[in-house]
């Protein structure tokens, strides 16, 4: 058959995949190894590939070195959930409009939304800093939630739109003919049908919201108790020394929530995220 590989080709493919995965996974592997080593072994020179006394000690010590660690993880998850919730409230109606309705400036406004993607990063931080200061939102959760929502709305609309387009139109039309209002149709007919898509897009937004916190946190928030994990982690870099093993343990603990969510939903996520790209 066409897809049959010779033994040699198989070996070649697996070897190449291995090299590729080593590049991708090496940092995680090293972080894990570092988290298992006692601190004094980390600082042993010359470099040792193997330590005799691996232990999970760092995973319990880390809560004492940085007492607020639990709080940071909570903050990260809380901010990500709030961002996701708010983003979806804005995204769902808009995505429906772009998927189903015809209206003036449809393409132009969609282009504006997508253009927002160009301004991620530090470009808007200056006025945003001042806007948030004027509104009295600096050093609150809102300072990290509000910009987070703004930068995820475009992606959310884009993803959900391509999902909604796949739902058959007939059901909506039937409801409409039966005298249901547009809002009722959206709420009672479209949304229940779109639940799987909402979950996929919601998860994608959550992952994005969890990932993007660092910049907003270090710029708009100085209050330690509100700091999300990516910013709080740097407290392991102390005045005297860096407790690398605990920092790695905390980092790995902190990415566990997203990794688990991703693992559970990866099949749907991958399909959902790439749907737009392939169709176009």
């Amino acid at each position: 058959m066409m897809d049959k590989y010779t033994k040699l080709q198989m070996v070649g493919i697996y070897a190449a995949i291995t090299v590729f995965l080593i590049f991708i996974l090496l940092p995680f592997f090293e972080m894990f190894m570092a988290s298992l080593r006692p601190l004094e072994h980390l600082f042993r020179s010359p470099y040792q590939f193997w330590s005799e006394d691996f232990s999970f000690q760092a995973y319990s010590d880390m809560w004492e070195t940085v007492p607020l660690l639990g709080r940071y993880i909570f903050n990260s998850v809380f901010i990500a959930f709030s961002v996701t919730f708010l983003t979806m409230i804005f995204v769902v109606p808009a995505a429906y409009a772009y998927a189903r309705l015809e209206f003036p400036f449809k393409n132009a406004t969609l282009a504006i939304f997508l253009g927002v993607n160009m301004f991620t990063g530090a470009v808007l931080l200056i006025p945003l800093y001042r806007v948030l200061r004027t509104m009295g939102l600096l050093n609150t959760y809102w300072a990290m939630i509000v910009p987070g929502v703004a930068f995820l709305i475009p992606t959310g609309i884009w993803l959900l739109r391509s999902y909604l387009e796949k739902i058959p139109k007939e059901l909506e039309e039937a409801a409409f003919v039966d005298g249901a209002s547009r809002m009722y149709t959206l709420r009672r007919v479209v949304l229940p049908l779109a639940t799987p898509g909402l979950i996929v897009v919601g998860t994608a937004v959550f992952i994005g919201a969890y990932a993007q916190q660092f910049l907003f946190a270090i710029t708009f928030n100085q209050q330690r108790e509100l700091q999300p994990l990516p910013a709080g982690l740097f407290e392991f870099i102390g005045y005297q020394d860096v407790t690398w093993n605990q920092m790695m343990a905390a980092a790995l603990t902190g990415i566990l929530p997203v990794l688990l969510i991703f693992l559970f939903l990866q099949k749907y996520l991958v399909a959902g995220l790439t749907a737009g790209a392939v169709k176009e």
Partner: protein
């Protein structure tokens, strides 16, 4: 943005002739009004949090502004940048950073997607294993890279020492050249999974019939890859490279955590320079001028790129 114009567009959309439907439509909202009600909140939010600050940035770029007050200085901020050799170097460095990093991401993404598309046992698992750098917070991934690049305790320097490539510990982030390329590698690491995933999805969208026809005609794997796969996924390659270029140009966290733009500005790209100027030194006016230049450069780049995209789509057909 110009929402008020929408409300007058109440023309009936009645293609359906059924009179009962027409009657109900009269009672209910017209399609354009309803649509604008739906996108309105999102539009408003983006306007306040993105569009208005963008306008503010442009205004501030003509000001001498700090924590105190602001004063109109005309084009002085731009004049300073135009005269600054350091700033010219930063622009060149930023484009070099972008082209190098995006180029590597595209090549690795293409290789990765081809490998993960190969019909071998275990590919489902491999596909999952490629994703982590993309889905975890960049800041956390960079902590991993800080550790790898550490001269005394990192595995890279350790391996080099035991292989005898270097005598002593090598601090990857301490020298201009090595810091720059180390940051590129870390950036490629973050960006490759997304590129790989989209290329893979595009490859799976290519019709099998094409491959089978070519196979029947005796075309080898390499020929099929070159003459079928690449042309078929070309539109995705082109749009992905624009997206990736924008992300890479704006890549801040990676550089900030690894080097904060150092050593001696070796990794200072435009975005890092902007951040340092504005947030680090509270020079809002000078920072804004830099931000405007970023938007301008990205805008010009994107427009040029979209022209290329048009040509590509015409050549390969919009699949």
């Amino acid at each position: 943005m110009r929402g008020e114009k929408m409300t007058e567009a109440t023309h009936a959309t009645g293609q359906e002739a059924e009179s009962s439907v027409a009657k109900k439509k009269a009672k209910t909202l017209s399609e354009p009004v309803f649509a604008w009600l739906l996108i309105g909140p999102a539009m408003l939010f983006i306007a306040v949090i993105v569009a208005w600050p963008l306008a503010e940035t442009i205004r501030l770029s003509f000001m001498e502004a700090g924590l105190g007050g602001e004063e109109y200085v005309g084009l002085a901020n731009y004049q300073d940048l135009a005269d600054s050799r350091k700033f010219h170097q930063t622009i060149v460095r930023t484009f070099y950073w972008m082209f190098l990093s995006v180029g590597l991401k595209l090549i690795l993404g293409l290789i990765g997607a081809t490998l993960l598309n190969a019909a071998v046992p275990g590919r489902g698992l491999f596909r999952v294993l490629v994703m982590p750098p993309w889905i975890i917070p960049m800041a956390i991934g960079m902590i991993g890279w800080l550790w790898l690049y550490n001269g005394y305790f990192g595995v890279l320097s350790g391996t080099m020492m035991s292989l005898g490539i270097t005598d002593g510990p090598f601090e990857f982030l301490a020298y201009k050249q090595s810091a720059f390329y180390s940051a590129v590698v870390a950036d490629v690491w973050v960006g490759t999974p997304m590129v790989t995933l989209f290329f893979l999805a595009a490859m799976q969208g290519v019709s099998r019939d094409l491959y089978e026809a070519a196979w029947v005609d005796g075309a080898g794997r390499w020929y099929r890859f070159r003459r079928i796969t690449i042309p078929q996924i070309m539109p995705v390659i082109v749009s992905m490279s624009l997206l990736s270029a924008i992300f890479t140009f704006n890549s801040f966290e990676i550089i900030w955590i690894l080097t904060e733009g150092g050593p001696r500005a070796a990794t200072t790209t435009l975005i890092v320079d902007t951040y340092k100027t504005a947030i680090g030194n509270f020079k809002f006016g000078e920072g804004s001028a830099r931000a405007v230049i970023i938007v301008f450069l990205l805008g010009v780049f994107s427009i040029l790129y979209l022209q290329v995209l048009k040509i590509v789509n015409r050549k390969y057909g919009t699949k």
